[in-house]
Symmetry: C4
């Protein structure tokens, strides 16, 4: 996998999942608020729809993880499911990548279980995603020994996105359905995706001369470049959020001037939501 494609592939997956999340979560929040405002007419319908979407997302994760493991094992220069031979461990890199995919597969299974059974503890899907990201970061951390300075640095920057995502997803276990945390996770997933591409471009340039992997200026540029990637990632999430918001407004044709995001501005007329009321009275 030590080539451009080997970095572009996981990058594409993280990018796709990040984009998908930054569309799914705002959409779901808007639906929920609208229902709270206009009554429960389509509530049952939408809950079923969103559960089905989550189910498909989980199934896709399992499928991609399975394909990934198979690909890592049975590419021409892969280990072909051999772990140990007389001369030592066989293709440990491929085995490590397989292990990463395995945990994303477990996360997919947890998603599917959370959606199909009501007896699964709440938050299992987020905890397993957090574990999958932690394992990814954990294996990457011990991945880059004895490499040039820039190679190590560019991978350790990746770890910030990975462990940041893991910590943020762990928070979601306890602060479920917090729009901001969901968008933060989306932005970190997009960051990870684009950064994988950046690693590919730097270490295995498609054209032009290769980078000097020991020059300090390059390290300084890459550090700054990581921030630019995050700024772009925030921009993408922002565009998706606005896009979902406006398309939702136009499709429905109903005024959403009073529709509101988040607990802060919950309508006081909702008599059952005393907590929201309290929240509001705290704010004013």
């Amino acid at each position: 996998m030590a080539n451009f494609k080997g970095h572009a592939l996981p990058g594409t997956f993280f990018l796709l999942f990040g984009l998908w999340w930054s569309i799914k979560h705002p959409f779901r929040q808007i639906r929920r608020k609208r229902e709270r405002q206009h009554g429960d007419r389509d509530r049952q319908k939408h809950t079923v729809l969103f559960n089905r979407i989550d189910l498909i997302e989980g199934a896709l994760k399992i499928f991609f993880a399975f394909v990934g493991i198979m690909a890592e094992q049975f590419v021409p220069d892969g280990p072909h499911a051999h772990l140990y031979q007389q001369d030592g461990w066989v293709k440990l890199m491929n085995w490590q990548h397989s292990t990463m995919y395995l945990f994303f597969g477990i996360s997919g299974i947890a998603d599917v279980l959370s959606m199909t059974s009501r007896h699964v503890p709440v938050g299992l899907d987020r905890l397993s995603l957090s574990m999958a990201l932690f394992v990814e970061g954990f294996l990457f951390y011990f991945h880059v020994h004895n490499r040039p300075a820039l190679d190590q640095h560019i991978h350790s920057l990746l770890l910030i996105a990975v462990f940041g995502g893991s910590a943020s997803t762990m928070l979601e276990v306890f602060k479920r359905d917090n729009t901001l945390l969901e968008l933060f996770r989306s932005s970190l997933a997009i960051l990870q995706g684009t950064w994988f591409y950046q690693i590919g471009f730097v270490l295995y340039p498609l054209s032009g001369s290769p980078w000097n992997l020991d020059k300090h200026d390059n390290i300084m540029f890459i550090t700054m470049c990581f921030c630019w990637h995050y700024a772009v990632s925030i921009l993408i999430v922002g565009i998706c959020y606005c896009g979902v918001f406006w398309s939702s407004k136009w499709c429905d044709g109903r005024p959403i001037g009073d529709m509101e995001m988040g607990l802060r501005k919950c309508p006081a007329s909702d008599s059952s939501s005393q907590k929201a009321l309290l929240q509001e009275s705290d704010e004013e």
Copy 2:
């Protein structure tokens, strides 16, 4: 203790406690939810039963800790309660292990006190368990100076399980009776147990040639192997959870189709649980 048995013994204890927790906690959750649904008929009975179980667990911990301390002190090559002699400290390794057992004993005493007296602050049992794990990790951290690279690495991986368990148990002080945290703690205990075995197999192989403790490939394999252990540990906890769930269903003969786990899906008919209602309305 620097042999296979010395690692297998604590491994067995952690394994047993992990398995026991991954059976006890789901069972207790299922009982609680069933009672909430079908009324309070057997509530008093079950509360007494679970308190007794916790009491026995605490007593066992004290007993094992006491046996452990005695064994460390009075094995033939132990310090026999001598701490200092003319030529220096006596058998500090054994004293360190005794100290670890001491704190698990304190955790057992806290369990017993929490169950027998209603005047003990809530959460003392979890805090003391968290401290016991912290002390274990703390002593292990300064345990492995001047050893080969693989020996240090394999012990530092153990620390991830130990400190992870300590942090997760500390969270339980504030988020009491959260099924997910309890299962997470169980899985980390099982991981610690199996990893103790793995350390024993690697450092003191029962058969075959000894491992090369300085080869980088071995370190890479062990890192990955740690993840596999955790995957297996998740699998074991999952099987226990399902086993408890199905056996509980069959034993009772009552339909539990409507029975639910966690706050998310609390029955809206429970008029007193306004908080749950709010939670639900947030979710939908």
Copy 3:
């Protein structure tokens, strides 16, 4: 920017923002409590006023960030928007500073959006400010390679104020409108401001002999000096708090003997705030 002015400029901005926050937040809290006590007469008016103030604050942030980026780019020895030339990267220091300003600009945009639209997730303003501080600390962390010991130390002390502010602001996402956290953030902003000045005075002394950058005693003094800066910063915030409090009392001419800060002492007569009641009964 490697001169006294280059450190005084950002220092002045952080100092001004810290002072402004330590006046704004107590003022807002006092208004809120007064309204809770004396009824909702001027509520609408004050909410509009405070929203407008936040809007102006956000606009100022955007303006300053834009000016800062322009200045860094187009000063006589700046990169003039050139990033790469034949001989390598152009003026990376200026580009890094521009990147820092960019994220404070994004934070300003988030402030403006939070105030103008009700559809923005709650807490976006704090999260973006936290990210801006994190990026500032992140870039500074990789900023000071191969410099003398005192130079590195004095910058790493700055990081404590920066990352402390980032963490505290992140907490505000979840604990919104907590007076204590807001004052803590103010004090850390003032600390950062005065510390920038201190860095300027130490590294580029305006008069007298330059500091010995490798003497251990200087490092010890600077460490202690950082604590003194924080003590002064606490004093400034305290004076602002008292000043706002007394001026608010005198201007209004209404007795505020019964007015109270924080949830702890909420009037029990407020029938709708059951949560506050519970809180109170917990306390007694």
Copy 4:
């Protein structure tokens, strides 16, 4: 201060404060619960009593901090308020200790303000104590350069108690009046106190031969010894808790069989405490 007395003095203060807290906090909790049970008869009286006690505690802190600063400055070999002379900084050690006392003095001022004014934000006393401990740890961290291995190690163990106390006190800002956290803080204060004595005994032995400061066995023993100190500290806090509990029972002569600690077991008859009810129904 580099002698036995210089370590025994702060040790004694931390020990006294730890013991005092481990008596005050249980006593206050017992009073509160008793009042909740038997009605509000003496509530006003006790609230006044406890506020006065906290006031005295704060005043004592200020007094001790002032005496400490004066002593550090004007001992025969102290700096006598001179900071800089021709040949460099004067007695930086004494200045650092003065700085530590200063922040404990600020914490005392915050205590007094919290008790005398109702307009101070809730939690200021805990935040300022947390900051005082942080500053203590921060200065100690840069205190022990170029010293023998054991000297560095024994001071870095102290940091665990200091930063642990700081983190735990910070938690109390958000989880106010949590008995467990208060007892935890007390135990860490006692640990810090006894550990200061231990440092004094090891580095400046009163009798017998001095310790070999570079022997690895000594480091291993000291690590374990730190755990024993904590076990003793837990024991002391436990004895104080039981002592307060039994003396409170005997003095009053009223049965407290039904009296309960913590939220878990709040009487369900308390109709206003719906939150407690919910908590209870979660637990059963």
